[in-house]
Symmetry: C2
Subunit: 276 residues, 2 copies
């Protein structure tokens, strides 16, 4: 008796993994594969990291390339395209604040000759928008387009202190992350720190890794009074004292804020003076 071999395999095509995810999400997950370490990727790498079959990846990538979101190199690998960069340059919180802040960052840099950083918050991290660095400045961990933690950097603390209350609570209730080179803060101390940052307009953090540095940061406000960005300076520990840097950083941040339409609250002292 001849038994047809396929009697036992009804779900031959049945196992469709992940089918059903929106196309856009898949396309975006392809873009998300790119990172500092992965700037040029092959089809199979993209498919593997984005967790989808090669034919599917290829089809999506073809659309992205046609539009210019990705570009194909001579060796067949894919990179992020200029067209995407072009659209992204219209991002108000990306290139937008950068354009407005740049002259003041440059002033600060010219005066101090140390790292000057500009960052905005995206979700639970700070995204570095601009960095000015002298060729002889100390090593710094973060690159433009990169991310930094909120709780263990001065630039991040400023953004955290200026975030909406609900978000702050979410972060505060997390167990303190254990980052090397930065003393970890328990919830209570962190609360006090954030309060101080709001009152003084200055955040300060000492690091020992990757090198011994002091960072001083100050918030940038928009016309509505929300903290939209954070401006920071990073100097080798032991060079310029933080209390000398603070006024310069604050002044630069306020200048940017004013350009964004923020009406600074004049302190009682100053008002008394102008009245007297």
């Amino acid at each position: 008796m001849t038994v047809t071999p396929e009697t036992e395999t009804p779900p031959a095509r049945g196992k469709r993994p992940k089918q059903g995810e929106p196309v856009i999400d898949r396309a975006l997950s392809l873009l998300a594969v790119f990172s500092d370490r992965r700037r040029a990727l092959t089809l199979s790498e993209l498919a593997r990291y984005a967790d989808m079959p090669a034919p599917t990846a290829l089809r999506l990538i073809a659309r992205l390339v046609a539009w210019g979101a990705l570009e194909r190199l001579d060796d067949g690998r894919y990179v992020v395209g200029v067209r995407l960069w072009e659209v992204a340059s219209l991002s108000p919180r990306g290139h937008g604040v950068r354009e407005i802040a740049l002259p003041y960052l440059e002033d600060l840099f010219e005066v101090t000759r140390h790292h000057v950083l500009l960052a905005v918050r995206d979700n639970e991290q700070a995204v570095l928008i601009e960095r000015l660095s002298g060729k002889d400045a100390t090593e710094v961990a973060y690159r433009v387009g990169g991310r930094a933690p909120l709780r263990s950097t001065a630039i991040g603390l400023v953004l955290l202190a200026g975030a909406d209350q609900q978000f702050q609570e979410t972060i505060l209730k997390r167990p303190p992350e254990n980052e090397p080179g930065v003393p970890e803060m328990p919830e209570g101390q962190l609360r006090r720190t954030l309060s101080d940052v709001r009152r003084t307009g200055i955040a300060m953090i000492r690091r020992t890794v990757p090198s011994r540095t002091v960072s001083v940061a100050s918030p940038i406000f928009d016309a509505q009074g929300s903290v939209v960005a954070s401006l920071s300076i990073v100097v080798p520990d032991g060079s310029t004292p933080p209390n000398v840097l603070a006024p310069a950083v604050r002044a630069a941040a306020r200048a940017v804020s004013r350009n964004l339409g923020h009406q600074a609250v004049v302190s009682a002292d100053a008002r008394t003076h102008s009245q007297g």
Copy 2:
């Protein structure tokens, strides 16, 4: 036998305009709506400009917002998001060349105190990657992330001269575009100009609109010897003569090229010298 009444109305819902366009293309066309003049858009504006029904636009936009490609403002309008900017910062031809070239652009700017521009070619236009401008510099038409024509700007001519032969022919056969303030070049003259640019490594153009300026540009090569970018300086006509600017611009462009791994061809003269 009962005849069903719908025998005469098969195309009841049949008129589905534009249905069938790939989802990704639609999503990308939403991104493409944003421009210098349109940085914050409402749902209906996006739907109108991208030419799709509001519900469809809403659904797509929701995915884009979830990922971070777009962000929603308090007033309900949408803007390009930081997440997109972050990925775009990995674009080799965008932020990539910019990072490598920036120090040399700054040197050139410090010395001359005039507009210094960096651009790459995307299709039939130049895309401005970076611009350094003094606060007192002359008015210039182009912003970072913006586009400039290839044939009527110095920075564009350099990119055109360095493009593959086939592409150049396509452009050359076009009727000369009539841009105000720039003398239009017939095909023959343009051919000669491009040849000169390749030979001398310098392009020069005088404009009268929006102001009387002279632009001098020079190509940036990669390790394979391809022209990947163009570096330009724009000065008021009558200030520094172009033949004085040319060496500085060429030197800066060569410095960037070297950093990209380009092995410059040493001229016969120089070789003779080193041998003697």
